[in-house]
């Protein structure tokens, strides 16, 4: 028996050895290939014509995971029209995306937050003396989701103060007088409210906490942040974890991309005198009702989302994600590829593709915004 055991242990050792060797080889392989893709981008397809339709080369991007699903749709759609261009998008996160882009590792970035002054300064170097281009291409309404199967209404209606009190833990049951006063038609049980937050760092959390902070500054005194700012009661990992957690307990409330809400109820938030639910048109209106940031230019169309807007039918609880590129690229073919890709992404076709529920379920940008974006894309040139 002892010998048998020893033998089986020996066999195990060889298996481990083989596995670890394979791992080492795989690690070497992957690091080598990622290095390649970074280096070859700037040189690939150097002599190609810049006319659209016969573009070619590699177009690597990285950045925000919020727009990753939309990017998958855009990459597929763009590749259908331009089979010789290899577009990739690596959802490493906004910060990592900007970092890689500024270091020259990628040709474009996706980011939820705008480039700061330091990053813009190093952008001049990255962009061969040109400027960083930032375009809002992805608008996603964030829904406040809840699990109350017998509420009997399409949306529970909440004003900003009540919503903030629910999420800060000041209101603890669904039949609280403040909720009941706003929802005369709903059946509100005495169930305890379980607040669910995202346990990973997320632009969704940042936009949601920004909304609470701007609209209910007396109740929600915390700064907008990627991570949940107060003690957590219950949490879920990623959008799917959030939805599953809210779905697992009656009385739970959370926040997630509206397209992922599924069977859960969604809150209509108060805008002016009305209550607005998280649908696509209302979300696009929410962005249009917001002012540009102070440092916005023709090339950097960056918004400061006005969560307190009273514009009728606008839904201000939105996440906006940007595409970032250069106004000037060293290689003319890179510039042509980037311009063509950005044009496709912001076209009606591209926006409709991302808006499909099976892709990202985002809200298409308005025609006004598209006009501004097209003017910015027209300035993307080779050095």
């Amino acid at each position: 028996m002892g010998n048998e055991v020893k033998q089986s242990i020996r066999r195990g050792t060889y298996a481990i050895l083989a596995a670890s060797t394979a791992l080492v080889l795989a690690a070497c392989g992957s690091s080598a290939s990622s290095g390649d893709s970074g280096g070859s981008d700037s040189t690939a397809g150097g002599g190609e014509s810049a006319a659209s339709g016969d573009l070619s080369g590699n177009l690597a991007g990285a950045g925000a995971s919020s727009q990753a699903k939309a990017q998958e749709g855009w990459v597929a759609g763009f590749t259908e029209a331009n089979p010789d261009v290899t577009v990739t998008y690596d959802p490493v996160g906004s910060g990592g995306g900007r970092e890689q882009f500024l270091a020259g590792g990628t040709l474009f970035a996706g980011t939820d937050s705008n480039f700061n002054d330091d990053e813009l300064a190093s952008g001049t170097e990255r962009c061969a003396g040109g400027e960083v281009v930032e375009l809002p291409v992805y608008i996603s309404p964030i829904a406040v989701v809840y699990n109350l199967p017998d509420a009997g209404v399409e949306h529970i209606q909440l004003d900003a103060d009540t919503l903030a009190k629910v999420f800060s833990g000041a209101i603890t049951t669904w039949d609280d007088a403040a909720i009941a006063a706003l929802n005369p038609d709903a059946t509100l049980p005495a169930t305890k409210i379980t607040v669910v937050n995202r346990s990973d760092d997320s632009g969704t959390t940042k936009n949601f906490t920004d909304y609470l902070g701007q609209t209910a500054p007396d109740v929600w005194t915390y700064e907008a942040d990627d991570a949940w700012p107060i003690a957590s009661v219950q949490s879920g990992d990623g959008t799917s974890g959030m939805i599953a957690t809210v779905g697992a307990a009656v009385g739970a409330i959370g926040y997630a991309d509206a397209s992922q809400a599924g069977d859960l109820g969604t809150v209509a938030v108060q805008v002016g005198e009305d209550f607005v639910g998280p649908d696509a048109d209302a979300a696009a209106k929410g962005l249009d009702a917001s002012p540009l940031t102070d440092d916005a230019t023709d090339l950097r169309i960056t918004y400061k989302i006005d969560r307190t807007t009273t514009e009728a039918g606008a839904y201000p609880l939105i996440l906006v994600s940007y595409l970032a590129g250069c106004s000037t690229y060293d290689s003319a073919s890179d510039a042509a590829n980037v311009a063509a890709y950005f044009t496709y992404v912001t076209s009606e076709e591209g926006q409709a593709r991302a808006a499909e529920p099976s892709v990202a379920g985002s809200a298409p940008i308005s025609d006004d915004l598209r006009t501004k974006i097209d003017a910015a894309i027209a300035q993307i040139k080779g050095a």
Binding site: V5, S20, G96, D201, A231, V233, A244, A249
Partner: protein, 331 residues
């Protein structure tokens, strides 16, 4: 109990042909094989050293930088304050898992080794071993979609009934707490602990068992007085191996446990309350997605802490095994 009963396996082999072998290394194949084994052994060690060196090198920026530099990521906590609650959560989850798994494993191992009829023992042992082959992400899915809803009402009842005990207080559905995670961890370490315990129990000298029976001992008394004392060190080392597995488990914990909000410094004994704990491995997997620069270094520093803990646990296990080398199935 004595070791004399069992013949030493080395002595059992005739020494003459062995020494012949060493004098005449023999043909090419012989040398080739010894070369391969030597290289393999060195490679394993080199891999371990490389991992340790990598962790140290990558963690160094976080270790040497000030609290202000990492404050954006840790929410104002120092590196130690950031890692300590994670270490606490990691160890707590693993210990709860062992408290559940070890008694169960001993019972299963006893059953397979000494109680079950031969025809049943084989399939049962095989089924237990199969549990080890299930990927942890599947355990995570199983835990979240099946176990969490199942244990929820039970936890609710326990928490309400015994709410005066702080350990069990403040349950809030769904059951994404450290106990649920530990139950899944327990299922995952069960095959390891069972397999090693079984091998040790099977090595109980026949004479010990027969002597006990001859003295009129019942089966339970045989297990208690002959088999368990004989296998004690083996069971301990088996538990340590299981502990190592539980400490490093990532996906299942990530999918089941609702962790505390980043920047909390919790050392909570409320094992039924959600959002009170987090483990190192799950935290790395979750936070690395959006991390860059120094934050990656902070996470790797926490990985270094986990590496140190598992190293210590495994060394203790090896030490216990080596004290009783002849009887353990793990050497």
């Amino acid at each position: 109990m004595s070791t004399d009963v069992r013949p030493d396996p080395v002595d059992a082999v005739a020494p003459e042909p062995l020494s012949d072998h060493t004098k005449h290394p023999g043909r090419f194949g012989n040398r080739l094989f010894s070369g391969i084994s030597l290289a393999s052994g060195i490679l394993i060690l080199a891999t371990l050293v490389a991992v340790a060196a990598f962790l140290l090198r990558e963690a160094l920026p976080a270790i040497t930088s000030s609290t202000q530099d990492i404050a954006d990521f840790t929410r104002g906590l120092s590196l130690g304050q950031y890692i300590a609650p994670l270490v606490f959560g990691t160890v707590l989850a693993a210990i709860i898992a062992l408290v559940i798994a070890v008694p169960l494993s001993i019972a299963i191992a006893l059953f397979i080794a000494h109680y079950a009829p031969k025809r049943l023992a084989g399939p049962v042992a095989y089924a237990i071993d199969l549990l080890a082959a299930i990927p942890s992400v599947v355990y995570g899915l199983w835990g979240f979609y099946w176990l969490v809803p199942l244990v929820g009402p039970f936890f609710d009842w326990v928490s309400t009934t015994f709410s005066f005990i702080p350990l069990l207080a403040d349950y809030a559905p769904p059951a994404k707490n450290i106990t649920s995670a530990a139950v899944v961890l327990a299922v995952m370490v069960l095959p390891i602990v069972t397999a090693v315990s079984r091998e040790v129990f099977l090595q109980t000298p026949r004479l010990h068992i027969e002597a006990s029976l001859a003295l009129g001992a019942t089966r339970w008394e045989v297990a208690r007085m002959a088999i368990l004392p004989f296998g004690r060190s083996g069971v301990i080392s088996a538990s340590m191996l299981g502990l190592g597995r539980a400490l490093g488990e990532t996906m299942a914990v990530l999918m089941i446990l609702a962790p505390f909000a980043k920047g909390s410094s919790f050392f909570s004994w409320h094992i039924l309350q959600s959002a009170q704990h987090q483990t190192i491995a799950a935290n790395i997997a979750q936070q690395i997605r959006e991390a860059h620069g120094l934050s990656v270094s902070v996470l790797i520093a926490s990985g270094l802490a986990l590496f140190a803990i598992t190293l210590v646990v495994n060394m203790i296990a090896r030490w216990i095994v080596s004290r009783r080398a002849a009887f353990s199935g793990a050497n």
